[in-house]
Structure formats: structure tokens, C-alpha cells
């Protein structure tokens, strides 16, 4: 594949998956700078490994897998900066509104903290990225059956953790983004 083909294909994949990868990073990072770094590094790796990037929807799952490893490295302090992505960082600020002074205790967060990293990743891939067990298996590199079983167990453990923290679950609302609240 020549340079033009590579660039055309990369741009198509980038435009098609950008919002999902940005969403993935935003949901798991605590600040805009970190989320922008994860998005940028994920696509830098994709660009450098175009030959390995699967076609179709499998490409999106492959990118989730890359983003997952980038995020893990990032959490270990290995921040990569192959690009500047200053505008992306500035844009992403809107996705990280300051915490509300009226906010109550983060019971769901505490319940999630009681889970293993693997359980958290399984649950969030299922709920936030809306992946089915077969797609989760692609991202995590395990069998579909293993993903299904592990997801089932993770859900049970999350339910149990929630019950320990707050026996009567109440409705939680997602905080509004600045642009949504206008």
C-alpha cells in the first residue's frame, strides 16, 4: 500500500472512530490533558502500525485495545508526546467540568474501586462502550466464552459492592456537560 492509500485509509478510520476513542479516554482519565494524550498516542500507534490495523469494525476494537495499553502505560507515568495536540487538549477541557460543590459521596466510584482492574475494564467496555462479549474478547485478546463468563462475574461483584456501600440504590444522574446545560 503506498503513501496516499495509507493516508486516505488512516484518515477514514480516524474520522470514523475519533469520537469513540475520545469518549473511551475521557471516561477513564481525570483531566483533559491526560485524555488528549491517550487519544493522540493511540492514533500515533495506529498510524505507525497501519499494516496491522484491521479493516471494518474490527479496526475500532483494535484501537480500543491500543488505547487500553496506552492508558495503562500512562498510569504508570510513561507519558508519550509524539504530537503536541494542544488544540485537542484545549477542546477536551469542556468534557471535564469542575466538580459540583453540591455533589454527594461518589458511591458508584467507591464500588468500582472495590473491583479488580480486570473487572472494571470488562464492565466499562460493556456499559460505556456498549460492546458485546465477542467484541470485548477482541479488545482484551481472550475467547468469547471467557469474556462472557468474566463479564457475568464482574457484574455480580459490582452489584455486591454497590449493596455493601449503599443498601438502597437511588437514581444517579450523569453530570451535565457545560455545553449541554446551555
Amino acid at each position: 500500500m503506498d503513501e496516499t492509500d495509507d493516508r486516505t485509509r488512516f484518515e477514514a478510520v480516524y474520522r470514523r472512530t475519533y469520537e469513540q476513542i475520545l469518549g473511551y479516554a475521557t471516561r477513564r482519565c481525570s483531566c483533559a490533558e491526560d485524555a488528549a494524550d491517550v487519544v493522540a498516542e493511540t492514533y500515533v500507534i495506529a498510524w505507525r502500525r497501519m499494516a496491522e490495523l484491521p479493516h471494518g469494525d474490527a479496526g475500532r476494537l483494535w484501537l480500543y485495545g491500543v488505547a487500553r495499553r496506552v492508558l495503562a502505560n500512562h498510569r504508570r507515568g510513561e507519558r508519550r508526546r509524539a504530537t503536541r495536540h494542544a488544540e485537542l487538549t484545549a477542546e477536551a477541557e469542556i468534557l471535564f467540568p469542575p466538580p459540583s460543590p453540591l455533589g454527594g459521596p461518589d458511591e458508584v466510584g467507591r464500588a468500582m474501586d472495590m473491583l479488580s482492574d480486570d473487572d472494571r475494564e470488562l464492565l466499562t467496555l460493556a456499559v460505556w462502550e456498549e460492546l458485546d462479549p465477542g467484541q470485548i474478547a477482541e479488545v482484551l485478546g481472550c475467547s468469547r466464552n471467557a469474556a462472557r463468563t468474566r463479564l457475568h462475574r464482574a457484574r455480580k461483584r459490582f452489584t455486591k459492592a454497590l449493596q455493601q456501600i449503599r443498601p438502597s440504590a437511588r437514581l444517579e444522574t450523569r453530570p451535565l456537560l457545560e455545553k449541554e446545560s446551555r
Binding site: E3, D6, R7, F10, E11, Y14, R15, Y18, E19, Q20, L22, G23, R27, V39, A40, V44, I45, W47, R48, R49, M50, R69, A72, N73, G77, E78, R79, R80, R81, A82, T83, R84, H85, A86, E87, L88, T89, A90, E91, A92, L95, F96, V108, M112, L123, T124, A126, V127, W128, R155, F158, T159, L162, A169, L171, E172, T173, R174, P175, L177
Partner: protein, 286 residues
């Protein structure tokens, strides 16, 4: 309410909230940056990318060879050396070094090189920005730059506690000096450029990217810093890589042109990397 819904409600943002973000200015700018980067090493051409030229020449005051920073790919390999500070894997015709000590000494690194037969390699640590997260490294011989790369992507998955990693050719013949970046002390000049807008740097938090040269110069001077210029010429005639022209006099810079970044050696000078306007004339060789 089921647990899935409870968890979903906790998401900072859902994908549907991000509709149209793929065509935002930030997404466009990132895409433009990425496609200027080199792809996998196997696809590299002999002509280095602007970034690599920048790194190599930026270091020329200190080094004859090029410095490398950035991620590369990870492949299966076999461990051939391990100490508290360094683990080495043999990976085909390369050695992968995994550094597990945040402050390795040249002696420790030389011992590692020598243990795998590279016994004519000496090591020197060079000051780099404390904000620099990737391994900055290079040789004093340009022929050894070929193939050397940073292997950070799976660093800590490969070796527990790995802080940075890099790969060098396994068949280095003759004497060679290896340079590895270490965090500079306060006030110390860097041997390798840093982004001047990083925290702790001379223009921390100042947005330069995208400004006109005129605006950028005004900002730099406001901080009592000097200005130097470079031009990033885009690839021409169907070529893949652009070229970076250094030490460009101010008389050749149009104040309306756009600045892509500001970099520093922590020496009171800010190097503005400028994108020439469409009507700019390329000098011979660019």
C-alpha cells in the same frame, strides 16, 4: 435501576455527546500532526522526517549522531542480561534495553553494554528537560542511528518497573559513545530541545501553536527571551517527508506565517518553528 444503568450514569460523557467532534479543529490539527510522523521503522525512507532532522541537528552542538525519542513496536524476544538498573533482551539483530532505575549511572549502563559483547561502547548522560517523558538517546556515530528506536509501548509489561526502554543494533563494531537523557538540574541547559510551553519551561502554559509569527514573537519577548527561527517545509513533489530548515534569519520570515511550536534548550532562546506561507520560495535542497 439496574447496575449497568447506574454505571452508565457515572460516565463523564457518552459517545453520542461527542457527535461532530471528529471534525473539530483539535481533531483536524492532531490528524495533520500524525500524518507527518514516520510510520513503522520498516517503512522508513533514508530521508529522515522533520522531527528526526530536528532532533539530530538540535543535538549537533553536543553530538555528532542523532538522538531519538518516541515509541516503537514491541516484539517477542529473549532476556540476555538483568541487573537492578537494566534488563536486556535479544530481539533478532537488536538488543532491547529496559531501564528500571530512574537514575542509572554511566558505569551501570556500560556494564550492561559490555555484558552483551558491546564492550567498546561508553556511556554519557546528557541533560534533558525534566518534563521529557520518553527516553532520549543517541550515538556519536550517525551509522548507528539506523535502526535505533525507543521501545516504550509495552515497556512495563515486558519488565516490571520498567521506566524507559530503547533498542540498539546488536552488531555495533568499534568504539561508540552512547548518550542517554537524564533530567536537567535547575538552571542547567538542555542537550535536547523541549517544548517551551510544557509546565516548568520558559513559556509554560503559553499557547504559541497556531499564532502568527508576529504574535508569537511579541509573546516571547514579553518573557524577556530571544527568538530563533526554523522553517518546516512540507513534503514537495509527491515526497513523503517534509524538511526542516534551521537557523533561518528573521529577514526571511513573513510575520504573517503561522508558528507550529516553540522549543527551548533552556538557554534563554525560544526556537519558533514556522510553517511557510503558500507563496514562500523554497531554498535549494528543500
Amino acid at each position: 435501576m439496574n447496575t449497568d444503568q447506574i454505571l452508565k450514569n457515572r460516565a463523564k460523557v457518552l459517545d453520542e455527546d461527542l457527535a461532530d467532534w471528529a471534525s473539530s479543529a483539535g481533531a483536524d490539527a492532531l490528524l495533520a500532526e500524525i500524518v507527518l510522523l514516520e510510520q513503522a521503522p520498516a517503512q522508513r525512507r533514508r530521508m529522515p522526517s522533520p522531527r528526526r532532522i530536528l532532533l539530530g541537528v538540535a543535538a549537533s552542538a553536543v553530538l555528532a549522531g542523532a538522538l531519538v525519542v518516541g515509541p516503537s513496536l514491541f516484539r517477542a524476544s529473549e532476556q540476555v542480561y538483568a541487573s537492578q538498573a537494566v534488563t536486556i533482551d535479544r530481539d533478532g539483530d537488536m538488543y532491547a534495553f529496559y531501564i528500571t532505575d530512574g537514575d542509572p549511572t554511566p558505569a551501570e549502563l556500560e556494564k550492561a553494554f559490555h555484558s552483551v559483547g558491546l564492550d567498546k561502547v561508553t556511556v554519557k548522560l546528557i541533560p534533558v528537560s525534566p518534563q521529557e517523558r520518553g527516553p532520549v538517546f543517541g550515538f556519536d556515530r550517525p551509522d548507528l542511528e539506523q535502526g535505533a528506536s525507543a521501545t516504550v509501548f509495552d515497556c512495563a509489561e515486558r519488565v516490571e518497573g520498567c521506566l524507559k526502554a530503547f533498542r540498539v543494533a546488536a552488531d555495533i563494531n568499534g568504539p561508540a559513545q552512547f548518550f542517554l537523557g537524564r533530567p536537567a538540574k535547575p538552571g542547567e541547559k538542555y542537550a535536547f530541545r523541549a517544548d517551551a510551553s510544557w509546565p516548568g519551561e520558559a513559556l509554560a502554559g503559553v499557547k504559541i501553536q497556531g499564532r502568527s509569527v508576529e504574535q508569537a514573537v511579541r509573546l516571547v519577548r514579553k518573557h524577556d527571551l530571544k527568538v530563533a527561527y526554523e522553517l518546516d517545509w512540507p513534503a514537495g513533489n509527491g515526497g513523503r517527508d517534509g524538511r526542516n530548515e534551521q537557523n533561518v534569519p528573521a529577514s526571511r520570515i513573513d510575520p504573517r506565517w503561522s508558528v507550529s511550536s516553540a522549543e527551548t534548550y533552556n538557554d534563554g532562546v525560544i526556537v519558533l518553528r514556522v510553517v511557510p506561507g503558500p507563496d514562500a520560495t523554497r531554498p535549494p535542497g528543500f
